[in-house]
Symmetry: C2
Subunit: 386 residues, 2 copies
């Protein structure tokens, strides 16, 4: 196990009706900017619940954050925040809304000309941010209890991640009731997103962290058990609650404490979303098995451990590792997420070339847990997923 | 799963040499009171490391906190703190030292006459406390990342727990190197203490929290795997690190999120420590199996799940639950912790009567996860462990 520091002061309010508990957690003098997405919160009653909890506060609203939130949209929110002098941001929606809000909280305090510059690390990030909190309505990104975000720029077809301790939510409400009205596609995407977040921190190389390994396996087993139930009986409260809890637990920073991390599938997947608009989780269901097959030798101990402990497979390490990849592809497909480019009529060779060229142009250093993934390897991985 | 709120802002610094990282985390103007135990920190180099990290700070020291820290000792520290106008408390040692420091932090701000009154809830707890942090040298109590403490009063042979968000450590350092010089008895006690902490939150009644269940099982499996290694090869860094991480993870509040909790073995065990001076963990190794056997019917689903998933037992629920208890007793005994009173030449019937009378005298309401444990049941449980 490696040394590590851990600090996660986000307050969680979990369960049915907990939106009502936020009132005392917001400074009394705050001017609250509610930020949300396409309007589903008007259909599922969440907007009403939030407005009720905010009675007595001065509240302004912005609706219209899109999936894979756009820099351009965020900047119009920043403009409104400055004009209205809002002092507290409340994200109400899924990970895209919260990720956008995190970027907005920093961008509103940025003193330079173009906040995109701190995303691309051309200039330092702001040293302050507006305080923010979240009401999460989609268990997927784990954004509710971490300090990271991902943001896209339409004009340049770029999608980048950012991190700052200044934007860790002060509190996050997770009411599983709000997730029951999700379309099946989004439920399935969320399950795979959480699954791959876990794998990015688990399916690497052994590092003598048996508790962290088993904590990750706990999440994987629960997703494999509860995921299909959520698809079959979407109104089962406990099933939804268990999926929500998996989402939070996999990205609150614990399972990676002292352990190596991969994140190659995310790095490559972000490019595919930026170029082709494929849903985030659906890029992962294609790419993760490709990364695994390409680095089977490096990852086989952990893949075999997953195969044996989580999937109950029997055999030697090489056999179980390979079968674990096959079973994972079957799991993704069973939830309706394709694992090959052909499902999208995308030519894998073209995609491979485009993404690889982007990494080359950016002089991106080798990535993955051992820094072995070069633009050429990226090309091979994508091409293998035709 | 039940609704819950979760908030744990303690900062962890984990790994070899991390004591040196505390310097920027203490307010520059602080007058630091270092509080420690019997002097082992002088032998294992921890005192030197802490003093080095505190160079430039005004530091005063108190050594002499005993195992099962005494109210009487704590009050002499409070006197010294007031006389010296210390503003920051740094606990350096095991759970007893940290628990004492937590009580001291509150007692130093108590405005009434006798701080024991807020322990026994005769008066309200203080609404402020001195800031505190810890350097942990014994993986056992999990006190490093929670807001609880246990304190004993010699004059009345009482041992009670307390809780206040004001005394959650600002930071805790866990350097597994500092645990290598522990005597085997304390290593073994620590393993059992962490094991029982996990069980108090796990071996209750099913509550549809599959992730929490598996997270608890992750800790139990790791303890069963790493515990004997720590006894056999006490200088193995990774083994020590894994035990330390189990200790923190089992009492940072996560595995009980939304789940029922028992704590009956602790309630009864505290009385046995107060009356007979038996080490805390050694009261648990006697009592836990007694609680389980008495409530076998109520707990059999969870005990069988533990038996099957953690111990690999086969059979029907009743068989596996019972065998799981037997195997747990064998595990405790294998670490050198007795599971029966006869090992201490204590008459179980006398102990049963004494403890039961104490609960009756206090009008203690029914306890355990379903509130079923009355003074009469306590008598039966203790008597069954002759």
């Amino acid at each position: 196990m490696n040394n590590f520091h851990y600090h996660n002061p986000t307050r969680l309010l979990f369960g049915k009706g907990e939106i009502a508990s936020i009132t005392p957690l917001i400074p009394k003098s705050a001017k609250v900017m509610m930020i949300y997405g396409g309007g589903s919160i008007f259909k599922n009653g969440v907007h009403d619940q939030v407005k009720k909890a905010l009675e007595g506060f001065e509240v302004i609203e912005f609706g219209g954050i899109e999936p894979n939130p756009k820099y351009e949209t965020c900047m119009s929110v920043v403009k409104k925040i400055k004009a209205e002098k809002a002092t507290f941001l409340l994200a109400v929606g899924g990970g895209s809304v919260l990720d956008a809000t995190k970027f907005i909280a920093l961008a509103a305090k940025y003193k330079g000309e173009d906040p995109w510059d701190f995303i691309t690390q051309k200039s330092p990030a702001p040293d302050e941010a507006l305080p923010l909190a979240s009401i999460m309505t989609l268990p997927a990104t784990g954004s509710e209890m971490n300090a990271s975000f991902v943001i896209s720029r339409e004009s340049t077809q770029e999608k980048f991640g950012g991190y700052s301790e200044l934007i860790r939510p002060l509190f996050s409400v997770i009411d599983p009731m709000t997730t029951m009205s999700l379309p099946p596609t989004q439920t399935a995407n969320g399950i795979v997103d959480v699954f791959v977040h876990t794998m990015e921190q688990y399916a690497t190389c052994p590092n003598n962290g048996p508790l962290q390994d088993r904590q990750a396996e706990a999440i994987l087993s629960t997703l494999i058990e509860e995921g299909p139930k959520a698809m079959a009986t979407p109104n089962d409260y406990d099933v939804r609650a268990n999926l929500c809890w998996c989402s939070t637990q996999t990205l609150n920073g614990y399972i990676s404490c002292g352990m190596p991390q991969d994140w190659a599938s995310h790095e490559i997947g972000h490019e595919l979303t930026a170029l082709y608009g494929i849903d985030h989780a659906r890029t992962l269901s294609i790419i993760l098995p490709g990364v695994w097959r390409t680095f089977l030798n490096e990852k086989k101990e952990k893949l075999a451990q997953y195969g044996s402990r989580v999937l109950g497979l029997k055999g030697n390490v090489d056999e179980v590792a390979l079968e674990a990849i096959e079973k994972t592809e079957e799991f993704f497909e069973s939830l309706g997420l394709p694992t090959r480019f052909k499902a999208y009529d995308i030519n894998a060779s073209d995609a491979a070339r485009l993404v690889s060229e982007r990494f080359t142009a950016r002089n991106k250093p080798g990535f993955g847990e051992k820094g072995l993934i070069t633009p050429e390897i990226v090309r091979q991985i994508i091409e293998s997923r035709a």
